[in-house]
């Protein structure tokens, strides 16, 4: 994770190194995360969205929605751009953009019941 290698008061040299690694982290694409890992990561979403993200109620179902819509929504949560959010902003901040994108693809590809 890029976060852990960001120094606070270090030399320019280290700062440059850190910048390099941040750059590296941001070019890990969603499709480079192994599918088994995405599937495991998605398991945590089921705790509120139901198995395979299928359950609709006070909390919306996420299965079968377009990947672009899900990804935009997750990124808006992460960036704090979604007004009146209760908890998804706090959760989205713990994932990289690539992970959010992979999760969006994962749920988009599940058939909605």
């Amino acid at each position: 994770m890029s976060r852990s290698i960001l120094p606070h008061k270090h030399s320019l040299h280290k700062l440059l190194l850190a910048t390099f690694f941040v750059g590296m982290a941001s070019i890990v694409h969603a499709d480079e995360i192994p599918q088994a890992q995405v599937s495991l990561m998605a398991g945590t979403c089921a705790n509120c969205h139901g198995t395979d993200g299928q359950l609709a109620g006070a909390i919306p179902a996420i299965a079968g929605r377009p990947a672009t819509v899900l990804e935009a929504q997750l990124l808006a949560f992460k960036q704090g751009l979604q007004p009146n959010t209760t908890v998804m902003d706090r959760i989205a901040k713990g994932f990289t953009d690539a992970e959010l994108s992979a999760l969006a693809d994962y749920f988009a590809n599940i058939n909605k019941d």
């Binding site: 705790n47 909390i59 992970e99």
Partner: protein
């Protein structure tokens, strides 16, 4: 049920392919002659049908239906601690928090055995059950929950809990405490004794105080709630105390450890408790939540350490003390993850994935978990704490900059949303764990 339509189609071949395992099992159905229609890819025994065990059993089968999974759980209906505080407040029935094992057996093909696991031989890999059966396993998954440390507080043993319930395992204990609350007269005092860390569901006692206050405010408004605590601060403390003040005035009094809050003796017959420095308090209804440890079967398996809890590998949740025994849920040492139903469910999936991978001879994936824990100040006022966890240098860490508490200055509209989401969460995790449709 038609809602089991995951990533993988129902064909086992395609399912294995989905996991990248197809090449490892080129002819899985032809390799043994057991007489069964489906060759077993391995035998797993799961002990405990709560959030951790039921989830693990389901997700092992979802990962590879050729794995033979037996779930051992004495009760035919599992009552959840989450939302049991609403039962205490008279806002829900006990039935509404009960869950069956029908989905596991009928949809996923888990063999469910209603018996108590009494002993484990980790060398012979055998479990002995109260009904005389023994079960052989390749991998054992324990989700044993908690046992009370009887007599850790003088006078508080199992017999005393029939008079002064803990209600920290839901079911008959919940109903017993509800009866005591109903029997209170207006102006009476309800006392709760709360242990030091670690214990099951860190914010649970304070939600309980809140929802009991909601009941008393409506029916017995001159009554008081006294929380005697074995610690100096607690989960979501600022949000709870602000919510108490706003909704219940001075009905709830919290006494910290430093202010002589720790209960050291209980007289269950008199509903009287005594704290460390000799103060006695008399209650009309008494709730003693005692110190806890991992469920006893963890001891029998040899996976607990001197603390009474279970150290585990953070990537797989395999015991660090016994090979091929995985442990999830409240029994484990998984800090900073809390001892909660949410965490147990999440750990159950991680252990399930590690077990499926291990049978297939491939490495486990690094887990990432999110956790959200809702508490209700009243049925329309919810607060939460969230976190995202990863494994770093073989430790579970809470990701910095993510998670945290509900805003302290959130408007009522947000508190109402969080209360609605708390119900949404309960419905979702019940569906995910037991297949219950709420």
């Amino acid at each position: 049920m038609s809602d089991r339509k995951p990533l993988f189609s129902s064909s086992r071949r395609q399912l294995l392919k989905g996991l990248g395992l197809a090449t490892l099992f080129p002819a899985i159905s032809a390799c043994t002659a057991t007489g069964t229609s489906q060759a077993s890819a391995g035998r797993v025994v799961v002990i405990g049908g709560g959030f951790g065990g039921a989830t693990a059993a389901k997700y092992i089968k979802r990962g590879n239906p050729a794995i033979d999974v037996t779930l051992v759980e004495p009760n035919k209906t599992f009552y959840t601690c989450p939302f049991s505080n609403l039962v205490l407040a008279g806002e829900r029935t006990l039935d509404s928090i009960g869950h069956s094992y029908d989905e596991l057996s009928q949809v996923y093909g888990v063999k469910v055995v209603h018996a108590l696991a009494q002993d484990i031989d980790p060398v012979a890999k055998r479990v002995s059950l109260s009904d005389g059966q023994t079960l052989q396993y390749d991998k054992l998954l324990l989700s044993p929950g908690i046992d009370m440390r009887w007599n850790a507080i003088e006078g508080y043993d199992e017999a005393a809990s029939a008079l002064a319930p803990h209600a920290w395992k839901a079911g008959p204990q919940t109903l017993l405490l509800r009866q005591q609350l109903e029997a209170m007269a207006d102006g009476d005092t309800f006392i709760m004794s709360v242990p030091g860390n670690p214990f099951r569901c860190p914010p649970g006692p304070y939600e309980r105080a809140s929802l009991v206050a909601h009941y008393l405010k409506t029916y017995k408004p001159r009554s008081k709630i006294l929380i005697l605590d074995g610690k100096d601060n607690f989960s979501k403390q600022g949000l709870f105390t602000a919510g108490w003040e706003a909704h219940y005035g001075d009905m709830i009094e919290w006494v910290s450890l430093s202010n002589d809050g720790r209960v050291v003796r209980v007289d269950a017959n008199r509903k009287e408790v005594e704290t460390e420095f000799g103060t006695r308090h008399q209650a009309a209804a008494l709730n003693v939540i005692p110190p806890q440890k991992a469920g006893f079967i963890a001891d029998r398996a040899g996976v607990t350490d001197a603390s009474g809890w279970v150290p585990v590998d953070p990537v797989t949740f395999e015991s660090t003390q016994q090979k091929d025994i995985y442990v999830v849920g409240d029994a484990t040492i998984a800090s900073p993850m809390p001892k909660s139903g949410f965490a147990a469910n999440a750990q159950g999936k991680v252990a399930a994935s590690a077990i499926v991978a291990s049978f297939a001879g491939i490495s486990p994936q690094d887990p990432i978990w999110a956790n959200t824990c809702y508490s209700l100040i009243n049925p329309d006022y919810g607060i939460s704490v969230a976190a995202v966890y990863r494994v770093q240098e073989n430790q579970i860490i809470s990701v910095e900059g993510a998670g945290g508490l509900s805003a302290s200055d959130a408007p009522d509209m947000i508190r109402r949303s969080e209360a609605a989401y708390a119900v949404g969460w309960y419905n979702a995790i019940s569906q995910d764990t037991w297949g219950t449709k709420l």
